[in-house]
């Protein structure tokens, strides 16, 4: 029963923050709501038996990606009042409760009968990753290289023009 309550709370948070992103005009608030939605999705990943993906979600998306978005928003020199007055108490309360529920959700197993056990261990995942999916892994690293070269070309072109 507890896990259904936690799941319903996280799902409601995801849908509410999505609608708030549509309604809200200021871009920094939108990035903040995106952080909350990503963290609650990480909680649902943890409940569905994927703790490694949940950790990766918090590290890559909510850590690196949204910080990059906020940095570019600050480059854009948007009007002054977009950075002030995010002092409503409920935003901090929602962020804190989602963070606590993430840690709780990593301990919950859904109770679904499967042959993998309750959660997929990182060892099994990495064995599958480096045995059966080694060629897509190398291809994705080439894609990262192409992305880095493309970003360098964009930065150089912006500097010359």
């Amino acid at each position: 029963m507890l896990e259904i309550l936690i799941f319903a709370f996280l799902g409601l948070i995801i849908l509410t923050t999505g609608i708030m992103i549509i309604v809200e005009k200021k871009p920094v608030y939108n990035a903040f709501y995106l952080i909350i939605a990503l963290l609650s999705m990480a909680g649902i990943y943890g409940m569905l038996g994927a703790p490694f993906i949940a950790t990766l979600q918090i590290l890559v998306y909510a850590g690196a990606g949204v910080v990059l978005i906020i940095m570019v928003i600050m480059f854009y020199e948007i009007e002054k009042n977009s950075f002030t007055s995010l002092k409503k108490w409920w935003t901090g309360a929602v962020l804190l409760s989602v963070l606590i529920l993430d840690f709780v959700a990593l301990k919950i197993d859904v109770g679904f009968p499967d042959k993998l056990g309750q959660t997929v261990k990182t060892k099994e995942l990495s064995m599958l990753f480096f045995k059966d999916f080694i060629y897509p892994f190398e291809l994705i690293s080439i894609l990262i290289l192409v992305g880095v070269i493309g970003i360098f070309i964009f930065a150089k072109r912006g500097k010359e023009g």
């Binding site: 999505g18 999705m41 569905l48 993998l116 493309g150």
Partner: protein
């Protein structure tokens, strides 16, 4: 059991919300935020079906999607910064190169 099917429903609704963000916003960064939301809902669907069929391959595809999303956000933001620095374009309605 409820959680797996409920997460499929949440993935569906958050996909719709992500498409609505992409359609309704006018700034390039907001469109990227909508794309992130959409990709995340697809990741949730992958993990829910990986749990439903007790098969770990869905989680591997989530890792691939995550890498592609990281590259997409980096390249898209660099395009947005380049458009702003060269042409002072913030909104997508100012992109008139293809309308001539």
């Amino acid at each position: 059991m409820i959680i797996v099917y409920g997460s499929i429903l949440i993935a569906l609704f958050s996909f719709i919300i992500g498409i609505a963000i992409i359609i309704s916003k006018r700034t390039l960064i907001m469109i990227l935020i909508g794309a992130e939301f959409t990709l995340n809902s697809v990741n949730l669907l992958f993990i829910a079906f990986s749990k439903l069929h007790s098969n770990a391959i869905g989680q591997i595809f989530v890792i691939f999607t995550l890498t592609v999303a990281a590259i997409e956000i980096a390249v898209g933001l660099s395009i947005a910064v380049l458009l702003y620095r060269k042409h002072k374009i913030k909104s997508i309605e100012d992109l008139k190169e293809l309308k001539r």
